[in-house]
């Protein structure tokens, strides 16, 4: 436990003493702000149009949750698909390149502690990232009246989605000493998970539901709608555990004969 905390401290410090953290946070918030601004001005335009046309029915359907927050969440998810592998790419690859891997693996650390330390550090970092985007819903709360429950559920979904990506990114980083290779293979993995459900509608009765279950988008979309389902939680949980287990095996494999 102490070793995990030591690793978390070291990793988090590494993010924040290098420009990595600031570039990633700035970029993420900049993109998030741009999405938010656009969604909000579109919402405003629609509201004005409907009011002019006096479409009573349509105006009642317009709400901040469906027209601003939900699309914002989906856009942020796409940005996370790309950014998370770049956050995690260094975790093992850089250690191998620098020779510090020798220090870690010849120290009395268990590989599980090493992997969990790196995982929790990246997890905390993405929590900070996602947490900072909380200012957008906060603005809506001050000036409007969106449903809080749905927003919270969406945010839980976003964190779970990013956590799955972190675990996958750690796995790909543990395979290589080249950060570019780690980032690209991480991106392929996260993107594949994001789009794997696309052919579900035309894939038949057996494969279709399977692809839909495997797709991270499917479970995430439910949570954005405010639907927290055990099926989804089991999905996220098992992916995280599986990826971390494989990472631990991959690190440990260096010691196999």
């Amino acid at each position: 436990m102490r070793n995990i905390l030591t690793m978390v401290g070291k990793e988090l410090r590494a993010y924040f003493v290098s420009p990595v953290a600031y570039v990633v946070l700035t970029g993420f918030l900049l993109l998030g702000g741009w999405f938010f601004f656009n969604l909000l001005s579109r919402f405003n335009l629609m509201l004005t149009l409907y009011t002019q046309m006096q479409g009573g029915e349509a105006i009642n359907r317009l709400n901040l949750n469906d027209y601003v927050i939900a699309p914002l969440m989906h856009n942020l998810a796409i940005v996370l698909v790309i950014l998370v592998p770049m956050i995690t790419m260094r975790s093992f690859a850089e250690e191998k390149k620098n020779g510090t891997y020798e220090l870690l693996l010849t120290s009395p650390l268990r590989t599980g502690e090493l992997v969990l330390g790196k995982f929790f550090a990246s997890f905390l970092f993405i929590c900070i990232m996602i947490g900072l985007t909380g200012m957008f819903p906060a603005i809506l709360l001050i000036f409007g009246n969106p449903e809080i429950g749905v927003m919270v559920s969406g945010y839980i979904g976003l964190v779970l989605l990013a956590t799955v990506f972190v675990a996958l990114g750690l796995l790909t980083s543990s395979f290589t000493e080249n950060q570019i290779v780690a980032a690209v293979s991480g991106l392929v993995a996260t993107l594949l998970l994001y789009i794997i459900g696309w052919p579900a509608d035309s894939a038949g009765d057996v494969l279709g539901p399977l692809l839909r279950y495997l797709s991270v988008t499917e479970h995430f979309a439910d949570m954005v709608k405010g639907l927290i389902d055990t099926r989804g939680l089991v999905y996220f949980g098992s992916l995280i555990v599986l990826a971390l287990f494989l990472t631990q095996r991959s690190v440990e494999s260096l010691r196999w004969r």
């Binding site: 030591t6 070291k10 290098s18 020779g99 220090l103 693996l105 010849t106 260096l254 196999w256 004969r257």
Partner: protein, 252 residues
């Protein structure tokens, strides 16, 4: 303290180390000699538990490196060929981090830190970022990292590379001081260094042990260590052959 028996390491078809055996008594300083690419680094990586051996056993303080790797790693300090530094950490925070992952109690760390900063002459760079240090200082931080938790066994891979003559003398003195309380394995290809610092030498060439013994025994009939070394490696077939040199690179 260290028992190496029939240790073999293959990388695919390449044999980096082939059935080598030697032992180091407690408190002794062993000089590990050999031409470039002879398998020194591979052997040291196996002793420290970084790499698994293909066959053969290594026992450190009675613990098998394969079965009880964790116990061995608690007792070992290791300076790899390139000092394992995090370039964005300061010397102090780096050494504190190492002390913690080596399992030192929180209360002992500050005293240990002061001790190694002084011993390795790092006091005035303690708050500098390691990435900005010169090669000699990086090497010293690497050494400080290896000794901070006061390990029973020290494995030093070419500890004096890149140091200036003054620093080389200081580091040698430091290593000599460590003998007795610590068992030291040190690799080098600087022969005078071995003659000055070590009690025992193991000469390996092309992955085989070609000479093992106390320095006083090897040089008793008036030979210099240089003669012994050159004769030992020429018996084995002059310079190391190509595949071994490649396999050493593959290991890195």
């Amino acid at each position: 303290m260290i028992e190496v028996q029939h240790l073999t390491k293959r990388y695919g078809d390449l044999t980096a180390v082939s059935s080598i055996s030697f032992s180091v008594a407690s408190g002794q300083i062993l000089g590990f000699l050999g031409p470039n690419g002879s398998g020194k680094t591979t052997t040291m990586r196996i002793i420290t538990g970084f790499l698994p051996a293909t066959s053969g056993t290594v026992k450190v303080a009675g613990f098998d490196i394969f079965d009880d790797s964790f116990e061995v790693r608690k007792r070992i300090g290791y300076l790899p060929e390139t000092p394992p530094l995090y370039n964005d950490m300061t010397v102090t925070s780096y050494l504190r981090f190492v002390a913690r992952i080596k399992g030192m109690a929180r209360g002992e760390i500050s005293a240990a830190l002061d001790r190694v900063l002084m011993r390795c002459g790092l006091g005035h760079v303690a708050n500098r970022v390691t990435g900005h240090l010169s090669k000699g200082y990086r090497q010293r931080v690497g050494l400080a990292q290896a000794i901070i938790h006061n390990p029973d066994v020290l494995v030093l891979d070419e500890p004096t590379v890149g140091l200036d003559p003054q620093q080389i003398i200081e580091i040698r003195t430091l290593i000599k001081e460590l003998a007795g309380a610590h068992t030291v394995v040190l690799s080098t290809h600087i022969l005078p260094e071995v003659a000055q610092v070590c009690e025992k030498v193991v000469i390996i060439s092309s992955g085989h042990v070609v000479k093992e013994g106390l320095i006083t025994d090897l040089t008793q009939d008036g030979q210099t260590l240089e003669d012994v070394f050159l004769r030992a490696i020429s018996q084995e077939g002059a310079a190391p052959d190509f595949p071994q040199a490649v396999s050493e690179e593959a290991a890195q």
